[in-house]
Subunit: 345 residues, 4 copies
């Protein structure tokens, strides 16, 4: 298979950096282009970015000059696929025009997630939703990645959906990297928790039903899953922890839930899909961000579950997702792998 | 009124220090004695304690010599009331014998909380439960303080109990001071959350029904309140934040909940009962530990509520309680004030 | 004595909030006016500020409407004295014109600190420097407060200056509140230290010599004190800790240093001057921000010293200063008290 | 070359875990044995350890059964070399007897560091000190690793020793992992700094002179280097930052210092010696623990220097060392590599 030349939109923010980091060395994709619409056009990436993911900007990306996100130039450079880490407002004006112009776009941005013709993907959960791309008019595909907390929640709920007997009550413990950079002021969060993240609770209400729903005659039929969420920022760098509780169907016990979660398999032949996308811990105090946020291969692609209990008909448990990897850049790249393998790219 | 001479059992731990701090300068109680059963017998308090609540051990307590907790000596010293910050295992052997011997004991310890003849008190919520002490055989009373998270939850739920239409789903964000000293290792909690606190979830299940229940013919009839809790330690020094969700009865809206909470009044004539025991915040990001943990007069005696929403029949909100003050020492002292005023002491 | 009507310039930032908080309830000063040059003109303070110092904006300040900083209007409102928490660039254009127009200005801003006709004051250290204001042409005085770290360092060094035999080597551990709000991004400082604070090291080099210097014939003669500083931000909310080392003159021992520090007295008759401006701790692990940052009366006006050792002719010790109180607003208010008492206002 | 079977003494603490982690997969050493003298004898490592360095105990070590540290059994198992992470008191009774009995011991423990016949090694700095082992009576070698802060300081000072013209003034910002587990209580260090680490400052005074000294006729001649240190614990997980200042010899400028540091080379043919053991950063705010603590190959073996300035004859700079890797287990393993290559093992 030929390697595909790819670019990143919005590569200087926290999520953009994660895209750059995960694409460097990717077995199928060659990161050759970086785009933003701002003041850093023309600069080398190493000059434009305040790199936060280690001592050095990855060598492969370091000298790429940041360019305007224009389809024409992309085609000229043979960049057929771009990953987007744009904020919602830029995404609104940039992503769809690019895909119309024939550039494939896989995006972490929230802007198009609920569009009726745009798949909202977690490959191991709803890979079949890519079918909605068949017979599309646009030459370039436009595919979205869910919200970071949604991804963690849905990956945990999907394998056990048949035991869920009520609304799902969710409280989150969300990491700072999810708020970008500079993001949360240290004076607000150090030694503190902040019980508010703008728009986050709504995403947890609307996105799961689309992802867990089904496609019938090319239209989305949302799943009958209802989430009530309280979202909270905590002083953790990476890894959203999610407290989950719901009434179970009769006869459900923890063992049953655990074996459903452990039975979940990855997608064969895709480099970023771990053999087991869910890790269930038996320890009494897991999952924890410091230990579980970088589980999997690549690190951070596995969701960790733990403290699975059922009492008086109510199941309680925790899920943990790496918010910028499985909950962002890593999942987007996995989506692109699936699209490529299945011929959508 | 004559001032009452009082002592503290277990004054060197985090909760014991809070008792000492709050009793120094109390208008009704004179802190004159400190007791433990360990190696520090005979030492001055300032030598025995690793004081964590400010630059200096309060002068009033500083030179009190730590003594054995013996009823005889207490009576000799005219210490008629002791507050207990003992760990559960010491409480098991020390508290009841003292009360049998005529010493009044108000305790933060969990050991006797569910005893059928021991009131579990939040004065503004179930002050009438003190009646169970009437006609008691023991000369000294034994009264308990609820678990810190329970106190925050119940103070918030009690005024709105008539709108609660289902189980109450709770996730906590609990402060480090609740784990005592040395308590949680910094390597475990710095930049992290730990989704496990031993025995905590059970306390949140059992204690609210007792406190919100009623006394009939001298026996407890538990309230019909059911809590499903996930308890989590977070890197916050003081103040437990509690995420709460439940189905509401028809017609309930946020305004109704807010006005019920704001209508709650304190107990007149008790120094530690704030005029309004619940503060409801309108800001979109409150309550927060850094701003709300020390609300009230005395600071930390008010529970703060915020983010009160009702959607599709489900109410979501947050409560915040200072875990060592209203959730511990402060509430115990308020209980003693009530007992004194009502003649139980 | 009549109470003086005072205002605050730049009251919404971290330092401005501290001014507001410390002026509410001040025995001599009535906070009646707040000024900025920005978008919040006309708003009530409670609407304009994101209050960070407790649950509520102080009632006294809450409904003051923010006005333009014009001398004419100030005189009309009988506001004769303003405290400034302006950033250096605004200070440059606002402070001197106000003082020329007859408004007294006491400022925390760095812009005029090294001006030859502007006193740089720590009242207990160089109160006599106010003499430079005598015979001034401006009707309003303009007096400055040193940098926060400088203040802590100089208050500690001044009483022991006669034993210092070399350069003073300083490394700082500086709190987040010193960087304003939003200030330091949580992703930069959580679980981290950052060995750089813009311009800070230079202030520690130049300011001490002026403060510890003398006035001769109306001109500053800098003290012969040389500081070499490395300044570091640490994840602490309040309180700069300062590591200090220098060669001592022959015969110096820790006891001598300690008794010089303990002998230092406050200024009588000034409400904000503690009886003992320096507290020396004997414990092996003090000073610490969590315990010592709010020492004194008012809290935070005392500098704490500790770990005073002399080995092989080198003294090592630590100082701790509350950076927004003694290192800022509190010291400015104390300066104003002194100016008022001595007739400069 | 045949692979060598090795063991770890004290493998369950923080430093012991780092040894285990770094030995798993080592190209020359096979980790086959784990020893302690405590209650976990006979248990599998995965049962005995509370693993803190990632989601899982490394598979290679997981099922090793913990044994008593007896030389006889070691020889039987052909374990000829053990790495020690023992606390000083256990080290005192275990390490020397093992080496006398013919087992090679390379230790991170402080107990024997200043012994006149025991080399205190940083291979890139004083590799020639191993000569003291020649003609030794003991069959097994006993070699020590310096204190973690010492290692960072000496690696930075050694290449520039010729420009140092005075005492070296040092203030440290030391990470929590250096205090072991449970180590520092979260209530002591969260949002705080603690200016005291037992015995640490003395180690920084005595160890550098030995390491930077020379061997003459089989005896140590200490270097003429004098350190005055203030040691402080900060809320950082990994990586000690060291603030350094000293008078320089005439004509010294930052460029000169930087080029000396950059010229320093690693040791060829040793897997754990990075090509460049010192990284000098040009950014204005480096080194920082979050970015630089895991620099090098293996990660954490490189010391990072930055903010190198010379003003008025005084040099100021920062060094950063990974305290459990280059400052501990990693350096010990590198020492063993050197001993093996040079025939001492």
């Amino acid at each position: 298979m030929d390697r595909l030349r790819v670019g990143v939109l919005g590569p200087t923010g926290m999520m953009g950096q994660r895209f750059v980091q995960m694409l460097c060395g990717h077995p199928w994709f060659d990161l050759t282009a970086l785009y933003v619409s701002r003041s850093s056009i023309g600069k080398r990436y190493s000059e434009a970015v305040s790199w936060k993911l280690g001592p050095e900007v990855p060598e492969q990306a370091s000298s790429i000059r940041i360019a305007e996100p224009e389809a024409k130039a992309m085609r000229k450079e043979k960049v057929d696929l771009v990953f987007s880490a744009l904020p919602a407002d830029s995404a609104a004006t940039i992503e769809k025009p690019l895909s119309v112009a024939g550039i494939h776009v896989v995006t972490n941005s929230s802007y198009h997630r609920m569009d009726p013709d745009v798949p909202l993907m977690i490959p191991e959960v709803n890979g079949d939703h890519l079918r909605i791309l068949q017979g599309r008019k646009r030459k370039g595909i436009l595919v979205t990645n869910p919200n970071c907390s949604t991804t963690g929640l849905v990956m945990g709920l999907d394998p056990i959906r048949k035991v869920i007997g009520s609304e799902v009550f969710v409280s989150t413990y969300q990491a700072l990297s999810g708020a970008g950079y500079p993001g949360v002021a240290s004076l607000d969060i150090m030694g503190n928790v902040v019980p508010f993240i703008r728009d986050e609770e709504d995403k947890l209400i609307f996105e799961p039903a689309k992802i867990m729903g089904s496609l019938r005659s090319g239209k989305y039929v949302p799943a009958n899953i209802r989430v009530a969420a309280n979202c909270v920022r905590v002083p953790v760098r990476d890894g959203h922890t999610i407290s989950v509780a719901f009434k179970v169907k009769k006869g459900t016990d923890p063992k049953g839930i655990i074996s459903l979660l452990r039975a979940k398999k990855g997608l064969k032949g895709l480099p970023f899909s771990p053999a087991k996308p869910i890790s269930v811990r038996d320890e009494e105090d897991r999952p924890r961000p410091d230990m579980d946020a970088f589980t999997g291969d690549p690190p951070g692609m596995v969701v960790t579950a733990g403290r699975i209990r059922v009492d008086d008909g109510i199941a309680r448990m925790f899920f943990l997702v790496n918010n910028t990897i499985r909950g962002g850049a890593g999942n987007s790249i996995l989506i692109a792998e699936q699209c490529l393998k299945e011929g959508y790219i």
